[in-house]
Every structure is written in structure tokens, then in C-alpha cells.
Symmetry: C2
Amino acid sequence: MENKKKIEVCLSPALYGNYENKEAIAVVTDVLRASSAIVAAFMNGAKKIIPVATLEEAKEMKEAGYMVAAERDGIVRDFADFGNSPFNFTAERVENHDIVYSTTNGTQAIQLASSSKQVLVGTFLNLQGVVDHLIKKNDEVLILCAGWKNKINIEDTLFAGAVVDALLKTNQFYTICDSAYIAQDLWLLAKNNLVEYIQKAAQRTRLQKNNLDDVIEYCHTLNLTSIVPVLKDDYLVKL
Amino acid sequence: MENKKKIEVCLSPALYGNYENKEAIAVVTDVLRASSAIVAAFMNGAKKIIPVATLEEAKEMKEAGYMVAAERDGIVRDFADFGNSPFNFTAERVENHDIVYSTTNGTQAIQLASSSKQVLVGTFLNLQGVVDHLIKKNDEVLILCAGWKNKINIEDTLFAGAVVDALLKTNQFYTICDSAYIAQDLWLLAKNNLVEYIQKAAQRTRLQKNNLDDVIEYCHTLNLTSIVPVLKDDYLVKL
């Protein structure tokens, strides 16, 4: 394994203390829906996305004049301009704008990973872009799944597995992380029927209850863009 | 799902706060090696096993005259009678004895689950016995994987998946837990080549380094016994 770079997968923010690695590039994912919304926003011309962990911060930023996307448990907060669906981040709304963004799981995970060498936002929409960047940088990799309120979820695990699988194929990386192998094998099992496989995910049921499950197919579309959001100081920009 | 009983899977003790359920029967597993050693001890006639979380407690119990099994990171502690291999718990040593037992991960997980309605110790060795008991009791089920120092591991996830798979087949149970589905699908993928599949587990590498990997095949043998260890007050007995 000499010269090969280590990959680890952290399947819940509550486990992050066991994986924190200042030498690694962290890929944060929250497939349904924060990561997908962030990638969609950059596709539609957003300049910056400022992730904030708490609703209080989001509200203060709204009062300071920012455009704010904020939700909890899938529900838009009343002070916010819009919520967490990638379909909200249209070019009409976001082009050339800075957007403050706070969600149930995804934005906290970005802040949690901020001690890493670099923090990327990854999702199926920009999978290959993320993988290409990781191969080029040739650093250690930590994939942090945002999960759901510290529980592990299927969709983020699948994305982690897709990255692991692509990186291990290069022979430039290795892993001895059981979570990485679990994620990879789940991805290999599901990849040819991704949208069908995800039907059993708890988050699909939660979104469905609020009539928000229209995004599921979109959020599991591979490689719509090569844009990779990266954390710079305390906001996200295009790499 | 009316009248059906809920199954959840907690893949790491660090996530237990999200799953704790006083109405559930908890199945604690640490396949390599604490759960397997506990089951082996009862197969060989042990009367009671007293799990203690800390080495200090284990040492005090040794001084009080108990037979003590204690290890950390796979290494027997010098004050202990023996360590964590199931092969140590021979009939010559354990028959009709009470044994104090402290390990890196497994015994803490048993104590963590103690607020549950009932706490069982499960492993591949007594898989069907555990499943039969859960079906008979018809309560909610929480499978707690001991993992490795709060990281998720493959072997405990596979055991959890085997229990989930067997219970869901009965139509008496349901799950909306993503970890349960992940575990079940991993089990279905691995079950026909369990020992081969487990070769990539990090714990195999750790045991191999200390020449302790002789137990791997044994610990992945299905249904050597129908004995189910159950927590009664603060010690384990046969159900």
C-alpha cells in the first residue's frame, strides 16, 4: 500500500470524531437534498453558498439582506425565501447571488468537516467531477455522509460507495475501512437500478409525506455537471 | 404495518442514543470475538458471565476470587486468567463456573443496552436460536452492533442483516430503518461465502497481526447451538 492514499467513509456525523483527518480531502454528501440543491444552485449560476448550522443564524442573515434557503425536517421556514428542493434553486432566483443555506443535516456536516485539508460537496449530480478532482489531487479522502439526525441513511451510503468504487479502480487509493467496503458493495448492488433501490430509503417516505418526493429521481441522476462546490473560508464556491 | 413489530439496527454504540428503546428486545453482537466467546462459554457449561466495562472492575473481581477473561485490542491482560478467543472458554475451564469478562467493545455494548426490555447476546453460532426467541416473544427488536471503538464493522453488520432477513420473512416484523436494509442486503450478498467475504474486514487484519485469526471461521459458523445468553440483573445466563 506504499504511496497509495487512504480512503475512509464516515456514515454518520455522530461518528466523525473517529475519522477526523486534517490530511484528508473531505467529501460531504447529503443526497436528499442539501448536496443536490447546492450543486443545482451552482449549475444555475449562484456565486456563493453560505452554509449556516442554526436557524437563528439563517434568520439573522435574512435580516441582513441575504437570500436565504432554510428548512427543517423538509419544511421551509417562514422567514426563508425558499427551502431545500434543488428545484427551488432556479437560475431566475440564484444567478449571480450569494445564498445563505441551512438544512436539517447537510449544512452542519459541512461545518463539521471544516478542519479537513479541503471540503467538497459531492452528490450523484457531480460524482465524476468529484472523483476526477480527488484523483488529480492525490490526497487522502474522507467521505462524510450527513445522514438523518445522526442515523445512517441509504442514499448517502450509496454515494459514498460510488466514490470508493471509482477511486479504488485507479490503484492510486486503498482502504482498510469497513464502512468503505460496506458502502462500495451496496453501490455495486444498487447502481444499475438506483432509483428503484432507493424506494426503501426512510427519507423517501419522509419526503413523500410532505409531497416532496418529486426530487428523488433528479437527485439520483449521475453526472449532470462537473461543477464541484468547495469550502473557502466559511462559504462554498465553485472549485 | 399494524400489529407488526418494528426492527431497528444500530451499527455503532456511538449511535445508540438515536435508537434506545425500552420496549425493544436488544440483541447485542460482537462477532469477533466477545459474543462468540460468550456463546462458546455457555456451550461449555459456564453458569454465569459477568460483563464488566472497565479493566479496573475486572481486576477487582479477579482479586475477589473470580475467574476473569479480559483483553484490550486483542491482547490478554496480565492479571486475567485468559483472553477473548472463544477457544479459551473450554469445558475444563468454565464448566459450572461464573466468569467475569471485559473486552474492547463487546461488554460495553451489553451494558449500554441494559435499559432495553430484554438483552440477548447473538452471534452466528446461535443465530437461529436468537431468531426463534424473537419470533416467539413478538416484541420490537433492536440489534446493537458493538463495532470497533465506535467504528462500524463488517462482521457485526452481517450478523444484524442475518437477523433482519430472518425476521422480515415471517411477516410478523417490519422495518423503516435504513441501517437494517443496508445490513440485510450485505448479508444476502455475503451469506453464501461468509468466511471469504469477511477477509476484507479490518478486524481480520487486526487479529492476524496478533496471530489470533484462527477463530474467524469458527465465529462465522451458523447455528452450532440454540443457547441464547440473556442479561439478568448484571450478569448473563442461558435463557
